[in-house]
Symmetry: C2
Subunit: 449 residues, 2 copies
């Protein structure tokens, strides 16, 4: 397994830095993986981090730069000149280079790009910066290995050798026609077992999955997962091969999306870590808490409106938290199923069907839970009318809550809004209010106050 | 992008099956991706699915079998003889074969294995079946390309050719010594640019990440994500190379884990889809709802104990849902941050530190929210003592809720229990009860009833 950066190790590095033991540092760190170097840089103060960063071989430091979290990266980049940044950028693949550059303040972007030595590299990066965030274009790299259908195997291997030196990892080899149109692929394995007398056109696989440069990142992720792809070529409107997306970037995207959805469901708006500052955490959490507060105030107002029942039917007020909690729980369950279904693209069939299924399900759950309340009420010697009121309300509130939980995300999704915002506090708060209102209204009808 | 299986397409297939148009079916489907064939099989009734499955070329049907969801796969496998299943298994990589076989009823397992033609394949599968679910061993495949350090490049290429025919995708090439100990790797790219006069020992990279066969799947996923690996070799206690894990299986694992955590946070115990049966959904959802119900009953009992306050301070009862909702929301937020932190392995530092940070954060949130309540109370002309009671309770309840949300998952994790169970209904329910109790107790002290 990978190495763990311990506190002791960090302290050792810090003392080596303060003693300017550059050689010892280089020997100690040259064998570390960039991701581990990144962890070390994150653990150091900004000055030490910059010192160490400048000291390291640019191949290692550039890769580490990619793995550092955004805040710490910004701190290091601030201390570097445009020329120094361009030097790091030269070591990176176009997609990673574009990611780093896009984080720079606008005025530095042009400066850094003009300092990049390799003109083709710079041109590719500028192209990538054009694509909108979240599209296939923003995820792809320009580096890839492509061969022409007209080549013979030995030509192909020779040409590939020079291309391969630019590409970190060769996945599939893409086959294009004279005009760079993507027409198929060649697996390395096939090339490995091919005879030197074969022509590419006779050994390539004419079927190749590809994505359009404007396709959404999540759709690319779904496709690559479904078809177990490790890289996918990206084409433009004319089916011209313009880049490729590799699975490591897709893995990061999948994890990021999952974390975002999870945090959204828990009522946290921004991507925060357990160790972020109180200010960052408050900014991420407070808005949802205020929403909850407003919901609670509305609930209080509704209950205030039924104050007349207070002395005759105090149990109604004791059971309000139960009704609210059940409405919230059911709503969150329903919405989570829909949000996941939408994310996996397996919400099919008509809305009406779904509604009937959802009502059926909540009736089953509601009746079982209502029966439990009734049994409980019997043993605790509740007034029968009160038990009936609570049980019936519970069934109706559960049905209502599951419909809200099901259809709010569906409607949001239809209107192009991320359905994940409808999970968590949003659903619980609105279901609390609806639930309490329905409960008291039914109680009024049954008990007559 | 990939093809979408439409309803019309499915109907066409159904009618071709009922007319026994085997040739048309084969022509129509032979170009489809196995994952799409799987979708078609899922969309058909069990008889049609079995008919089509048997009709298809075994290379295609075996791959499709892997992609079908478990329930539909079981239905198809039931209709196949042990010999027919073994025939499919022969087409699959050892890891996929082992996955399918492990789903069979115990009595069929031996039967199917004895029917597998290739003895080595059968032996490998039996080995894989031994590893515990969720370990690296259960994720790995036996197929890999390995070369000896003593070989020359041409020998290596020749030997690899025969190995490569067995391996669907060549990632890294692993380098072993005479006794099969893993000593390094050789990238295909390096081999591509090597000279025929090179010896493997002079061109291989002596540094290679590997995992132990008993390492946990999540740890393997974290490592592969951190280091952007597409395959990782698996070794036993003696560092002997015994298999490799590829990124496609890790992507599936990551998505599965994320979905499980998300569902757990929403109060859903089993992996269910939007279109599962009412019975399955009830089974997954009802237990958490019953937990919520018990919590609600406990809350009602607590409030019943403070019935004396009912006539004098009715507002307390109107504000109970607000207190409960805030306790629940804060608890879910705190627990979600911890659960994600644990999953990403970035919960560091001492417990005491974390406690103070958490108290600080909740004080900030609590005071802001309490101030809002106070302002609201002022405009609605609440009794000042009531406003003070609600405000102070809110601050204390928020602190308590965030501590529960933070430390319950941490304690569960320390005791080897999945901390994700502590998110969602579990935290909301316990915080509801604690919150309501604290609220009324503080009210009793301040208002004196």
């Amino acid at each position: 397994m990978g190495s763990e950066i311990t506190k002791e190790f960090l302290e050792k590095i810090e003392s080596l830095i303060s003693d300017n033991k550059d050689k010892t540092l280089l020997t100690l760190l040259s064998e570390e993986h960039p991701a581990d170097i990144a962890e070390i840089l994150e653990g150091l103060g900004p000055d030490d981090a910059t010192y160490l960063f400048k000291l390291l071989d640019s191949e290692l430091s550039a890769e580490a730069l990619l793995e550092i979290n955004e805040d710490d990266r910004e701190k290091i980049l601030k201390n570097l000149s445009a020329e120094e940044i361009a030097f790091e950028i030269d070591e990176l693949d176009t997609d990673d280079a574009a990611d780093i550059i896009s984080e720079l303040p606008q005025e530095r972007v042009t400066e850094v790009i003009s300092e990049i030595d390799d003109d083709d590299h710079a041109k590719d990066i500028v192209e990538l910066l054009r694509y909108e965030e979240g599209t296939a274009g923003s995820l792809m790299a320009k580096e890839l290995v492509k061969v022409k259908e007209t080549w013979m195997v030995p030509t192909c291997v020779r040409k590939m050798r020079s291309q391969a030196q630019e590409v970190r990892r060769v996945h599939s080899i893409y086959v294009v026609d004279q005009d760079n149109h993507l027409i198929g692929r060649l697996s390395l394995k096939d090339l490995l077992v091919a005879s030197p007398k074969d022509k590419i056109s006779s050994i390539y696989i004419p079927k190749v999955d590809s994505v359009h440069v404007n396709d959404k990142g999540e759709d690319v992720a779904r496709l690559m997962q479904k078809y177990d792809l490790e890289a996918i070529p990206v084409v433009d409107d004319n089916n011209v091969l313009i880049g490729r997306i590799t699975i490591d970037d897709i893995v990061d995207l999948i994890i990021e999306e999952a974390e975002k959805d999870y945090q959204m469901a828990a009522g946290i708006t921004e991507d925060i870590d357990a160790d972020d500052s109180i200010f960052d955490k408050t900014k991420a959490r407070l808005p949802w808490l205020i929403l909850g507060l407003v919901g609670g105030l509305a609930a209080a107002a509704i209950m205030g409106g039924f104050e007349d029942a207070l002395t005759r039917f105090p149990e109604l007020f004791f059971f309000t938290p139960l009704i609210a909690a059940m409405a919230g729980n059911v709503g969150v369950q329903s919405s989570a199923i829909i949000v996941q279904g939408l994310a996996n693209d397996n919400i099919k069939g008509s809305m009406v069907n779904r509604m009937f299924k959802e009502i059926g399900l909540s009736m089953v759950n509601g009746i079982i839970l209502a029966a439990l309340i009734f049994v409980f009420g019997f043993f605790l010697d509740y007034n029968t009318n009160i038990s009936i009121t609570i049980s019936i309300s519970l069934i109706i509130v559960i049905i209502m809550a599951s419909l809200v939980g099901t259809f709010v995300p569906l409607i949001l999704d239809k209107n192009g809004i991320d359905p994940a915002v409808a999970t968590g506090p949003f659903i619980t708060t609105s279901n609390d209010i609806f639930g309490i209102f329905i409960f008291f209204y039914i109680a009024k009808v049954i008990l007559g106050f």
